[in-house]
């Protein structure tokens, strides 16, 4: 109707933080809103205009049978589907259930688990439907979000760098916390995007942007083990917000077998 590209924003199992990032683009929000027709974005507007949509931003992971169906309909309505954040691209923190007895988890939380339908796993959107672009981060970075929206509005493929956080620390001139203090830091295997914040706050990177391009995960954990870090600690640091991303998942499995032996 308006001739503007139509945007939809969807939520699955998540904290809302990644779609909030769009509203956190305070300086650009009104300008972006003028360039698109918002078809579906419940957090921001009561106005709902039916699909199909040119761009769908999808936040959250798939954890219920209903959502496993719903994502198929979202895909059918979307010309270009972008997952936003660690939940949608890797299953999020709630994927910790993937390595546990999920029935026991439900019983631990609910007196009447039978009232609630849930799946035994939390999985990425790409495990269910084809995804056109994945935006990383827990939460996503607003500059990267604007890059993606800008690219799509101008008809080009979005680009986000795949290098590790280490490069960003060097650029910022941050002293390496791993080398100087021996801190457990996932920077060498974690994708850039946050701006390498944690080392500037005197702590190791905790991997919230997930694995970088070609991460040498085994080599890093071998080095930490040589320095005396227990395998159990390393399992915990890999199994947070992106624990179910393939490279972190397989190393988590390998290390947890070692941790069992150490015990």
């Amino acid at each position: 109707m308006s001739g503007l590209p139509k945007l939809a924003v969807y939520k699955f199992a998540s904290c809302d933080g990644c779609q909030l990032t769009l509203l956190d683009c305070e300086d650009e929000l009104l300008a972006v809103a003028a360039k698109v027709e918002i078809g579906y974005f419940l957090e921001a507007t009561s106005g709902v205009r039916g699909g199909p949509y040119d761009v769908a931003l999808v936040e959250g992971s798939i954890t219920t049978p209903h959502d496993a169906e719903r994502i198929r309909e979202v895909r059918r309505q979307a010309r270009y589907l972008v997952t936003i954040g660690a939940c949608a691209t890797a299953g999020g923190i709630q994927a910790l259930r993937n390595w546990a007895d999920s029935d026991e988890f439900m019983r631990a939380v609910y007196a009447r688990p039978d009232y609630i339908q849930t799946l035994a796993t939390s999985t990425a959107i790409a495990d269910h439907v084809p995804v056109d672009f994945e935006l990383r981060g827990c939460p996503i970075d607003r500059h990267q979000l604007l890059e993606v929206l800008g690219a799509l509005l101008n008809g080009r493929q979005p680009r986000t760098p795949r290098h590790s956080v280490c490069l960003d620390c060097k650029r910022r001139g941050t002293v390496c916390t791993l080398v100087a203090q021996g801190t457990v830091c996932l920077g060498p295997i974690t994708q850039s995007g946050c701006g390498a914040i944690c080392p500037t706050y005197d702590r190791g990177c905790y991997g919230c942007f997930g694995p970088c391009g070609q991460p040498n995960v085994v080599s890093l954990s071998d080095e930490f083990q040589r320095r005396g870090v227990p395998a159990e600690t390393l399992v915990r640091s890999l199994r947070t917000f992106n624990g179910n991303a393939p490279e972190f998942r397989s190393e988590g499995q390998r290390l947890s077998a070692i941790a069992r032996k150490e015990k």
């Binding site: 918002i38 419940l42 259930r97 026991e104 007196a111 702590r203």
Partner: protein
Amino acid sequence: MSERTVRIEAFSRVEGEGGLHLTIRQGQLHEVRLEIFEPPRLFEAFLRGRKAEEVPDIVARICGICPVAYQMSSVHALEAALGIEISPEVRRLRRLLYCGEWIESHALHMHLLNAPDFLGFESGLKMAEFHRAEVERGLRLKKHGNQLLEALGGRAIHPVNVALGGFHRLPRREELAALIPDFEWGVQAACDVVRWVAGFEFPDFDGNYEFVSLVHPDEYPFNEGAIASSDVMTSVDNWTERFEEFQVPHSTALHALQLGHDRPYLVGPLARLHFNRERLLPAARRLADEIGLEHPCHNPFKAIVARGLELVQAYEEALETLRQYRPTGAARATASGGPGVGSAATEAPRGLLWHRYEVEPDGTVRRATIVPPTSQNQAQIEYDLKSYLSSLADSSDETLAGKAENLVRTYDPCISCSTHQMRVKIDRD
């Protein structure tokens, strides 16, 4: 014709996803069900076995709108469990961090989520076409909140600088001082926002509330205090002696009630203002009198005004701290090991947030209990909807649904938080 139902499949302009089911029988409103179908994420289950120091980063992910609230309740509860004493400087900086979150969250809710209801727009973005200056001012205020969170916490959503015992690193003086000019402007701008929203037309409704909020003898409450309700003060350690959580079939978020009361209770800005109006800082307090906000105020639609006064309060306190800040002492008190048990309550933007942790001798979490504000408000929201809509039962479905949604938004419900999920004690059918 004797029975009809009105459904709102999914609320808009709230955080997280929920709906509403109204049943009208013989022209009378028979049942109101606030349906929360956010998928459970089971935080209390997977926190077990994690190290205490990992908890603040993990619980932040319960809510992208109020991660600081989760970080604050968790660090205070774990510090109580492990006998860690924080320094006065850390305490003040934690309040400053909380100011950033209140500013961001309140400015967001007031301008983009709630004000469009009073002025008749589908969104804050549409509202901006007619009220550009007000929306731009609101976005600028919201941005200041985020800038404060970034300077002190590293980033606005899921800050990285909160640690057990304090912070990973104290900010440098110039990192905080750079914000002073914006915050000087912000105190005045926030006052103008309050004058603006105080002029809205408010539906006539009296919730006759049982309010529950933290109360501290010297300050407007953030991180510390006793839990006040109409007839009693309860220590945060005794929450479970006073309150109880229970599960209902139509919600993945647990409800809560106050023991010995047959009515629900309300947490949030109206409750905080009810118990703490005289502890507002001077500009906020003067403004409350200037606009003539009644005290006590039992009209939920006026929560936007209370939220505005808290916006001024947060700017005032933040400005004072920014001006006085000189980094001294250690960034954090060192953590000792377990075992221990501790609880804490802090005031999230939308109300009281209670955490309790049991910690093993090896410093891992044995048990975690988290009671978010929106779960506590669910029963009150249903109760209010029932009385507010009862005289409107003859109206069209569209009118009923519209009025219902307007009322629900006034509580600033955060449905993502409420369904993180919680441990259950009893069940009532």
